[in-house]
């Protein structure tokens, strides 16, 4: 009898511990999933916050660039046009003075003609800088060709340009973004990179439009945080964002710069 009782109690004990083990493991699982879900949501929120911060930064850089551009235009207008028109106005007043002889009159009129011509030329140049007319009239391809020609004509740099994309079917409002990106890249290569050779290539593969930009300039360490925060780069990034594409930028000291971006 005693032996049976002992065996019974052992069985009960065995079953009890198996049940206990099941229950505790179930609890561990439930707790694990509960906390994991919480943590995953937190990670997602953090990620979204980071994205929002990044967007804010981009927006901020757009605003700053806009202000700087305004400042530059204001300065151009002031220096190249207002000052000239000022002198023209002075000269015109001089014409009013009585007893001017013919040579004096001729000199003043010549002055006025010369100055108005210069002012006209400057205003044309400023307008051209703001928005190249060729871009509007003949499209992006011609616009880039003109841009490349302008750079080539400085003789300090040799820019090659190849294009496989038919930009005519591409929305016109996006032309300007690509143009500005290339303008910024070319300016950077020349100003900071002291590049002597630059290649721009547009390819269309599987309906994925890609631009590859390579220069042989000084380059910089693109992995360092500091170098990624330039206003120019931020602008390029926000324009690429706007085009619905992404980009890959690599550069090492003395190995030039390589930028590949695609757009839809």
């Amino acid at each position: 009898m005693n032996a049976i009782n002992l065996e019974n109690s052992e069985i009960i004990q065995g079953v009890f511990f198996i049940l206990l083990a099941f229950i505790s493991m179930f609890l561990v699982l439930i707790l694990f999933f509960y906390f994991s879900r919480k943590k995953i949501v937190q990670i997602e929120v953090d990620k979204k916050n980071l994205e929002i911060d990044h967007q804010k930064e981009l927006l901020n850089s757009v605003l700053i660039t806009q202000e700087e551009e305004r400042k530059r235009i204001a300065q151009d207008l002031h220096d190249d046009i207002s000052s000239k028109l000022n002198v023209v106005s002075l000269n015109s007043h001089l014409l009013k003075t009585p007893n001017l002889n013919e040579t004096e009159q001729l000199e003043i009129t010549n002055n006025i003609i010369e100055l108005t011509q210069k002012a006209l030329e400057n205003s044309r140049r400023i307008a051209h800088d703001l928005l190249p007319p060729v871009l509007e009239k003949f499209g992006l391809h011609a616009g880039i060709e003109e841009l490349v020609e302008e750079f080539n004509s400085t003789k300090t740099v040799k820019v090659s340009y190849e294009n496989q994309i038919d930009f005519e079917s591409y929305p016109v409002e996006k032309h300007l973004h690509i143009f500005r990106i290339l303008q910024e890249l070319l300016n950077n290569s020349l100003r900071h990179g002291k590049a002597t050779e630059i290649s721009i290539q547009f390819t269309n593969f599987d309906n994925r439009k890609t631009c590859t930009y390579i220069d042989n300039g000084l380059g910089f360490d693109s992995s360092s945080e500091e170098n990624q925060k330039g206003l120019g780069m931020k602008n390029i990034e926000s324009r690429i964002n706007f085009l619905g594409g992404d980009f890959n930028f690599t550069s090492k000291p003395n190995e030039g710069v390589k930028m590949v971006f695609n757009f839809n």
């Binding site: 069985i11 004990q13 065995g14 511990f17 505790s24 493991m25 561990v28 694990f32 943590k39």
Partner: protein
């Protein structure tokens, strides 16, 4: 050769592989290596005790559980991060062995019996630590990820095997079931070793991952 012999050979190869980088790697790696060697030697000794000295190996099982608990607790204390987790690990690491050892001092006969309570007490905390480690590294690269998954898998399944084994003994069920459970245990160990091999490969071939 018996299936268990192959298992010892696999286990020994694993130990040797882990020993290769023993001094190059961090503390957690060293403790893990010691754990593997310890488990191998306890397993080997306990399975041969009967043929050597005609002694039954029940008491070796206590050694095995206590050794596993202490060394893996230490191992997880190196991997876990938050204060609360570490606090739990340290407290249990002190309290539990004292509690178990004092039980044997009071009643030495317990040492020669299967003890389900002990099995439960020594493996459950390890399962919890292992889950904590998984939780800590959700969504990021984890130290000893595959090693930990292997441990968790084996702790989970082997606990049931040990508990069930006890019932099999009590009910005095035929030997076929007994053999079946031994074979299941061997299979589970192979799966565990597969995880450990993969973990070793990751550490050995990735110089940047210092564990």
């Amino acid at each position: 050769m018996k299936p268990s012999t192959y298992l010892y050979i696999t286990s020994a190869i694993l130990c040797l592989l882990y020993l290769i980088g023993f001094f190059k790697h961090g503390k957690a790696y060293k403790i893990f290596t010691i754990y593997l060697i310890g488990v191998l030697s306890i397993d080997y000794v306990s399975s041969n005790l009967y043929s050597w000295f005609r002694i039954y190996n029940v008491f070796m099982h206590h050694f095995y559980e206590l050794f596993q608990f202490v060394i893996l607790s230490y191992f997880f204390s190196l991997l876990l991060k938050t204060r609360a987790q570490l606090f739990t690990v340290y407290i249990l690491l002190i309290v539990l062995p004292i509690f178990l050892l004092s039980r044997y001092l009071i009643n030495p006969n317990l040492f020669f019996e299967y003890n389900l309570f002990e099995t439960y007490l020594t493996t459950m905390p390890l399962i919890i630590y292992s889950s904590m480690h998984l939780y800590n590294n959700l969504g990021e690269k984890s130290e000893f990820y595959y090693g930990n998954v292997g441990l968790l898998f084996y702790l989970f399944t082997s606990t049931f095997i040990f508990l069930l084994y006890r019932l099999v003994v009590i009910f005095d069920i035929e030997d076929t079931i007994n053999d079946l459970m031994v074979n299941i245990n061997i299979t589970l160990q192979y799966i565990k070793f597969a995880f450990f091999f993969y973990q070793w490969k990751l550490i050995y071939f990735n110089k940047y991952e210092r564990n």
